[in-house]
Structures are given as C-alpha cells and as structure tokens.
C-alpha cells in the first residue's frame, strides 16, 4: 500500500511526494506521539514530579521494548527487506552486550565509547557470518546462521571465560556523562572518616579517593554504603587503581543509591587520603535509562526508515524480490547481502549494549536460540518488511508476556487444569507462557501473515480516503 494522501491534497514537488509525513497533520501526530513518549516517565512515582500515575515497572518495560525494537528492526532490515534469514540474532545481541561489558570493565571504556565500538565489533562479526549467503539461500542459510547462534555463546562461555566469567553473570557500571565536577575536597585519616549524603537521580555523587601519604601498603580505603556495609572493591560502580604491587592506591565510586555514605581509612595511623566529591550526570536510574534508550530507538528507526527508501534500501528490496534480476541490473548482490548482515548486526549490537547497561548485569542465558526465534516471531507478527513492523511486533509480544499473561495467569491456571485433567497441573501452569506465545504466532500466521503493520497501513489508507472506499 503506497503512502497516500487524503483526497484533494496534491504534491507539487518531488520533495513533497517523497516525504514520509505526507501532510502537516501527519507530522503533528508523529511529533505529538514522540513528545508523549518522552513525558511518560514524568507520570511515574520515581519520576522528577513523583506523580505516581504509572507503576515504576512500566518505565523499565517501555525501555526494554525500545531495546528489542532496535534489535528486531535490525532483523527486519535483514529478513524483511533483504530476504535473508538469520537464526543468530540473539548471539549478535550477546556480542554487543558482552563486547561493551568487557570494554567497560577491562579497558575502562565509558558507555559512550563502548556503544559504538561494540556495535562496530558486532557488525564485523555479522559480516563474517553473512559470508555463507554468497552460496546458500533460504533454509540452508538459516542453518548457516544457526552456526553463529551456537559458536558465539560457546566462544563467550569457554575460550573467552577469562573476560566473560563463563556462565556466571557479568556486571557493568551505569552509563555516566563526562567527567564529574568536584565541589568538595577533604582529607581523611584512620581517625577522621568522612560522612556525606548522596542523592541519586540524573545527577549522582561521585567520590574519588586517593592515598596521599603514609604507609600506603597497609592502608585500606572503605566506602560504607547506606546501612553500614562496606562496598566490595568489585562493585559495578567502583573503579579501582592499584600500584605495581597490587595495593589499592585510588578509587572512584559513583553513589548509585541515595542515602548516607562514609569514607574511611584503615591501617597505619599516619595514612592520609584525599577525597574529592563531585556531581556527574548519570543514567543509573530506570527513568534516566529510559531517556537514553527511547530517543536512541526512535533515531535508529528513523535512520532505518530513510535507508530503505533510498539507494541501499532499494538494493535490499531488489535482492529480496528477485536477486537474479538485481544482479543483472547492476546491483552487486553479494555486497548488498553483506551490507544487510552488517547493518543487522550493528542494530543487534546496539541493542545488546543497551540491554547490558540497562540491566547492569548480563548472563549467557539471555542470548540463547530461544531469543533468536522469539525475535523472528516478533518480526512476523509485527510485519516483516514494513517500517513499523518491529515496533508493532515487539510491543505486542512484550505486552502479552509482561502485562497480559501475568493478568490472565491466575484465571488460566485455574481453568486449564480442569480442561485437561489428565495433565499434571504444575506442567500446565509452567506452560502457559509458551502456549499463549505460540498461540498468538499461529493466529497471526493464519489470519494476517503480513503482520500488524500491514493492518495498520490499511487502516491509515482507509482513514485518509474516508468517506470513499478507494
């Protein structure tokens, strides 16, 4: 369905004819939707206004939807537009997540540097696993990309275990903007600890402690968090500097929770440390992450939308619809497929990186084959090859899983065992999630294989053409 205008509105320039928003009203609604999206966190209890109209969990839910929208849009570029199949998308997300985690932990990369670096890294890996597309198509390509889904998690689990921690979860610091601006400088000694109160929203307190004098070897810096327990040196928000002998000589800590902190020094009496405290813009809270993730998702959707209506996107579509004709009409089919694999992996990498920083902790369990398949299902339900397919699919499935199913669960776990008395009730309860997910997929495949986005386009067309049928 072409992008149509309401009856009586005519284009006079090609710019107008190419525009995504065909009328001023389109543009208005789109901007309004975007603003509304930005205002959502203000309604929550932990938001700046503290209105409490929306449960805090929904902020995280929308942020996670946005993350998966990015990932599935990547898949859409590859599967929906270029017609290649990939069963390794979750593994690429894993590369983005683990890549950024390792960069942040081992090399001290900030989030802002880790995001593009890990995205590019994932893109390169996507390119590598896209190479089989030169020779194989369809089912066979699915098998080849399935290799990625097994090789990558295996590589993360065993050969790279030194960095990834194997099957154990890996933690990350929250993203922070720029260096902190110090506002206080104090000196602590074993007798005089430093007490202060930190607030934690967008602006967080950052404490930098540096040993300046005295028996450095025997001194130990402790930061007591609210409640009194000392923070471990391995805390995600703590960066530790050690000397050649392995003694801690300086550390930096981002106070991620609001409350009273104490910095104290243990060891020889003459030990001294300098404490600098400052403020920094941080994304440690759900609301802050929301403002990081959602605009980025909107931006990436916008870029993909533009891409598919210009030269590269038309090459993608040519390869999908008729690769033979595309090749004979001047499109380098193999290079085009590789571009799609690269882009798709970059999107997955960005999503993985965001997921890692949003969760503060990642594990290999999050990036298994079931997620790859789930993302394909999301794409099919949303509408493969439609600009908004990823948005619709992810939103539908996520709402089904995180809002509708929990609401229906008590009723279903009551009613289903009565319907199937010959099955153990425990088995039924644990199967509700996959049953409803599978059910939704089957319903869509039968009733609307082109996905929700197709219905949406029909609806839009009908609305613009009203009161006429066409």
């Amino acid at each position: 369905m072409a992008n149509i205008k309401p009856a009586g509105v005519f284009d006079t320039t090609y710019e107008d004819d190419m525009a995504i928003d065909r009328t001023r009203r389109d543009k208005f609604w789109k901007n309004l939707a975007f603003c509304a999206l930005l205002l959502v966190p203000l309604l929550s209890a932990s938001g700046p206004l503290g209105l409490g109209l929306l449960g805090d969990q929904y902020i995280g839910l929308i942020a996670r939807i946005a993350i998966y929208v990015i990932a599935v849009q990547g898949l859409n570029l590859l599967v929906g537009y270029t017609g290649q199949i990939s069963l390794g998308h979750a593994a690429f997300m894993g590369v983005g997540a683990y890549g950024s985690a390792i960069l942040a932990r081992e090399l001290g990369f900030s989030f802002w540097l880790a995001l593009p670096t890990s995205a590019l890294l994932t893109g390169m890996l996507g390119l590598l696993f896209g190479l089989p597309s030169l020779r194989v198509k369809g089912f066979y390509l699915a098998m080849a990309t399935l290799a990625a889904q097994f090789i990558i998690p295996w590589a993360l689990e065993y050969p790279l275990a030194g960095w990834t921690g194997g099957t154990r979860p890996l933690s990350l610091p929250a993203p922070m903007i720029g260096p902190f601006t110090p506002y206080a400088r104090d000196s602590v000694s074993p007798e005089t600890p430093l007490d202060f109160t930190a607030g934690a929203a967008f602006i967080v307190d950052v404490i930098a402690v540096e040993l300046t004098a005295g028996a450095v070897d025997s001194a130990r810096i402790d930061i007591l968090q609210p409640g009194g327990a000392p923070l471990p040196y391995g805390d995600v928000n703590m960066t530790v500097t050690r000397d050649a002998a392995g003694n801690v000589i300086a550390l930096r800590y981002i106070a991620s929770k609001a409350g009273a902190y104490r910095v104290q020094l243990a060891g020889a009496a003459e030990a001294r440390a300098e404490v600098r405290r400052g403020k920094a813009l941080s994304f440690a809270t759900d609301t802050a992450m929301y403002y990081l993730i959602v605009p980025l998702a909107v931006l990436l959707m916008f870029l993909a939308r533009n891409l598919i209506r210009t030269r590269t996107g038309r090459a993608f579509i040519s390869v999908r619809d008729n690769d033979l004709a595309a090749e004979l009409l001047g499109v380098n089919v193999f290079a085009t497929k590789l571009r799609a694999f690269f882009l798709s992996a970059v999107y997955a990498g960005i999503a993985g990186c965001l997921l890692a920083f949003e969760r503060n902790s990642i594990s290999l369990q999050m990036f298994q084959l079931d997620l790859s398949i789930e993302m394909l299902a999301m794409l099919i339900i949303g509408g493969a090859g439609y600009p908004l397919g990823a948005l619709f699919g992810v939103t539908f499935i996520r709402l089904l899983q995180e809002a509708a199913i929990p609401a229906l669960r008590p009723w279903l776990s009551d009613w289903l065992p009565q319907l199937f008395p010959f099955i153990d009730a425990v088995n039924i309860t644990s199967a509700i999630n996959p049953i409803l997910f599978g059910g939704a997929l089957i319903v869509f495949l039968i009733l609307e294989p082109r996905g929700i986005a197709h219905r949406w386009e029909l609806l839009k067309a009908a609305w613009k053409l009203r009161p006429y049928a066409y």
Binding site: Y14, L307, R311, R314, D321, L324, A325, E327, L329, N332
Partner: protein
Amino acid sequence: MPVKLHVDDISLSFGGIKALSQVNFQVEAGAIFSVIGPNGAGKTSLINSINGFYRPQSGRILFEGADISQLPPYRRAALGISRTFQNIALYTNATVLDNLMAARHIHMKSGMLAGALFWGAAQREEIAHRRRVEELIDFLELEPLRKSIVGTLSYGLRKRVELGRALALEPTLLLLDEPMAGMNVEEKEDMARYILDIHEQQGTTILLIEHDIGLVMDISQRIAVIDFGELIGVGTPAEISGNQAVISAYLGEGSA
C-alpha cells in the same frame, strides 16, 4: 557503423547438453538486431551469456571492443547493458516507481549513511534521479500506476514496467527477451512502438528475441537465426527470409 557487441565464437553446455555451439555474430551500434529460432534453440542462453549470468566454456563476449567475458553481471550492467526477462522478473512487492528507481542503482552514489540521514546531497540525488524516472514513466504512459505495487498489475502492464526498469538503467545495449510474448495484437503494437521510439530517440542498440516473425521482419535491421544452439543464418530480413537453412529449421526439411 562501429561494432557494439561482438559475440565471438561462444560455446555453452550444461553437462552433456550443448546450449550454444560456436555462435559468432556482431551487432552494430544503433541497430535493432533480432535473434529468432524455435523454442529451446538457445536464444535465452545467448542473452544470459551476454550479460554474464552464464559463463560460456569457450569464446569471448566483446562489448565496445573490450572483452567482458570475465566480468560479473553487475559490472556488465554498469557498462550499460540492460535487459528484460522472458518470464517477468520484477521486484513484485515494490511499487512501479521503486522498481524503476532501483534500476538507477549504478548511476547513484549515496551510501548507507547518507541514505539513512537523507540529508542534502542524498536527497538532491534522490530528486534528480526521480526526475529521470518520471520522464520514463511519461514515455511508457505509466503515470496512474506510479505507486501501484507491481505484483497487482496485469501481465501486459508488468511487461511494460519491466521495459521501463531496463530503460531506467540508461543502457546503450538493451537485451529484450520476448517482450511481446503472450500479448494481444494491440499490446504488441504498443510494445513495438515503444521499442522503435527508444531506438530512434536514444539511439540505443537493441538485441531482440521474438517469436512473431512478421514483427521481427518489420522492425529489425539484421536478424540472427539459432537452431539447436547453432547459428544457422545472419543477415537482413530479406536475406533471412530467403535462407534455405532457416526455412527448413522453421518449416521442416524439404519444404518450399
């Protein structure tokens, strides 16, 4: 007249089947050159060899004097060789406009990033090429169908869109594989008119495969006849209609 295309002694076989054996002919620049022959004679194999989809086991393809036998198909397209297909091969889920714009690929430059931003140069390029495509849409009288999905169009229209797509590449050599197959008389006349107009207005060299002998005789300057993969005659329409080998291939031994 300089030689546009020289098919130099090419042989092509699939396993034991000889699709083409030592086919040798030249197409002069600016000519309408037709290839005729019974079904299965190897006409489409010939076109596929010219634009690189098949690689003949021996012989060379020379385009404007340069050997292009080793070039991949997309590089040959970039040189200005375009084609249509016997069984329409359009991008069925895209609009007519996008099908034509897609064939501008080799003339456009903007990369992934420029396209994604759709800013400045990329947008100007898009508009400039749109203008060229609109001229073609005018020429082929496809205006009302600009934004129709190709898969929803009728057979005759799809053939026309495919011609448009081939032209959008701005070819200097156009390979038409049975552009009039399955059409009624009126549609055939339309198509013949388009072909003659293209030839006249743009000086495009056209290599045409067609079964309608009457039409071929009418519009071609030279004709090649292929039977069982062998070239059995090349010449002007008059020469071909008097060629004994051609007559027996079409009508059987001992006729006429």
